[in-house]
């Protein structure tokens, strides 16, 4: 059943700009570094002087924007996905089909998680390519590129679960958008946030300097929030 729902959900996101945003996000994040390194003459040399490890410094620069793009992306993608059903209250048509409500929620979550995963893969390739273009050194730190591309994804799963929950149960899309704006501001100042706030996790910072902690937290809390959201979604009446 879930495969049928997924096929339907992928059909529904056609022409809604979700794929476009999936590509735009990572491209934008990397392009900002191209601007940072290349646009002003002499800036590249100045940046390269500032660290011993040019690749790591470049990756940290990239990663300063990744969490913001993720939070923004999650807000917009979930809202778009919910608006597809909300626009003509297609929920009542969808839920009256012979499917389980939990399956409906799972399918939506899976589609969005998949799109964000694609975005992370793209981020990996774009980061790698720009790094080569910037000529940051012959030894390419693939493991580190992967860390900076994929860890934020897992660390932001709780935000995805939270946003999907709020977006699907709100009749007023202003609520999830507001939540997104607040989240965006939180993320902008993530270095000041306490470690327990999920909006800090995509930045991969914590007091132990161990990004893997954020990944584990992200997956665990993500699963918990997902289950809460799904149960609440299934419990509610469809208006």
């Amino acid at each position: 059943m879930i495969m049928k729902l997924l096929a339907t959900d992928f059909l529904k996101i056609k022409r809604k700009g979700l794929w476009f945003l999936t590509i735009l996000g990572p491209l934008g994040v990397v392009l900002l570094q191209w601007v940072n390194y290349e646009l002003v003459p002499g800036r590249r040399e100045w940046l390269l002087q500032r660290s011993d490890d040019d690749w790591l410094f470049y990756l940290q620069n990239v990663n300063s924007f990744t969490p913001l793009a993720l939070v923004l992306g999650i807000t917009i993608l979930t809202s778009l996905a919910a608006s597809i059903e909300n626009e003509t209250n297609a929920w009542k048509q969808l839920i009256a089909l012979p499917i389980s409500k939990m399956g409906v929620f799972l399918s939506k979550f899976t589609v969005l998680a998949f799109l964000l995963a694609i975005a992370s893969v793209l981020l990996f390739f774009f980061t790698w390519l720009l790094g080569i273009y910037l000529d940051l050194g012959a030894v390419i730190p693939y493991a580190q590129i992967a860390t900076f591309s994929f860890y934020p994804y897992f660390a932001s799963l709780p935000l995805l679960a939270l946003h999907l929950w709020v977006a699907t149960v709100s009749n007023n899309q202003g609520i999830p958008i507001s939540l997104g704006v607040i989240g965006f501001l939180f993320t902008s100042y993530s270095f000041k946030l306490p470690d327990w706030l999920p909006w800090k996790w995509p930045s991969l910072q914590n007091q132990w300097d161990e990004p893997l902690v954020n990944v584990v937290l992200g997956i665990c809390v993500g699963i918990i929030l997902y289950i809460i959201g799904m149960l609440d979604f299934a419990r509610r009446d469809v208006k």
């Binding site: 049928k4 059909l11 003509t88 089909l97 012979p98």
Partner: protein, 303 residues
């Protein structure tokens, strides 16, 4: 009689307000069941509960003899629905909208062309629904509802927003379905004239309570004619009729007869003329179904 839908004390409460109050619906197989009630009487809430969109506060629902609570998915496999305004994905074409549903239902692909043909949307199949007129959207909604070859079709105010030709078309389609495809239809409306033209069975709901449920014939029998008499000195005429043992009803200088057979009317006129009253008019007053409906929904306690 075999009932496709049977509810037992179906109740839905929103906070303190009771939207649906202990409903015992019985929808016989092969009928077009007209579910009638003023706006806000609880029609949509009831239909939503039948579709599993809302959970009843109390009571039970049996569809095809199965408990909806336990066998929701297997029941819904044989139910088609169009609830209130049609739902669609405006950025997709009509065909894609149906394809999105077909994927879930697992019907064969040919079914899409078949239902598009049935609602005469074949020409617009590859156009985005965004540009459809309301009537076309409504027809697409019907096509969606028929995609799984339902045994029970639930239509909530299906002629809302349709133009006259669209309404007639919809009516004909609804009438055809039970005969041609053995579909039981449940159609709700706040307009009696709508129900009157398609339904074979009627349920009337008011303030959350079912106040009438029977065949449309039985309902029509309630819509009896009234004979009204306009006579000189009506008040005294009424009294002298009463003195002769003829029971009538007097109101605003008009005498209404309870007995309506030709003989009874003739007898009354004869009596009045004998007593010296002038009979100005003997008229039939058609009490429309609408009047009955209004009366029922105003005070349904005595029935």
């Amino acid at each position: 009689m075999e009932y496709i839908v049977e509810t037992h004390h179906l109740t839905k409460r929103f906070g303190k307000e009771i939207a649906v109050n202990a409903l015992n619906l019985k929808i016989p197989r092969g009928e077009v069941y007209g579910f009638l009630g003023p706006n806000g009487a609880g029609k949509s809430t009831t239909l939503r509960m039948l579709l599993g969109l809302m959970r009843p506060t109390a009571g039970s629902i049996r569809i095809f003899g199965k408990d909806l609570k336990k066998e929701r998915i297997s029941i819904l496999r044989n139910v088609g629905s169009l609830v209130e305004s049609p739902s669609y994905y405006s950025h997709l074409t009509a065909y894609e909208n149906l394809e999105a549903m077909r994927k879930i239902l697992g019907s064969p692909k040919e079914k899409i062309d078949e239902v598009l043909d049935l609602v005469r949307l074949s020409n617009a199949a590859d156009k985005k629904v965004k540009g459809f007129s309301l009537g076309m959207k409504q027809r697409l909604g019907i096509a969606m509802a028929l995609l799984n070859d339902p045994k029970l079709l639930i239509l909530d105010e299906p002629t809302n927003g349709l133009d006259p030709s669209g309404i007639i078309e919809m009516r004909n389609l609804i009438k055809r379905l039970p005969k041609e495809k053995d579909i039981t239809v449940l159609i709700s409306s706040h307009l009696l004239s709508e129900i009157d033209q398609v339904a074979t069975y009627v349920g009337v709901i008011s303030k959350g309570k079912l106040i009438f449920q029977d065949s449309i014939k039985a309902m029509r029998n309630k819509a009896q004619l009234k004979i009204r008499l306009k006579v000189s000195d009506a008040n005294n005429a009424y009294r002298s009729l009463l003195a002769k043992g003829i029971k009538t009803h007097y109101q605003d200088h008009i005498i209404y007869l309870y007995e309506q057979s030709d003989e009874a009317v003739a007898a009354v006129v004869e009596t009045l003329v004998d007593e010296g009253y002038s009979v100005y008019r003997v008229e039939e007053e058609h009490q429309s179904l609408e009047d009955i409906f209004l009366k029922m929904t105003a005070g349904g306690d005595d029935r």
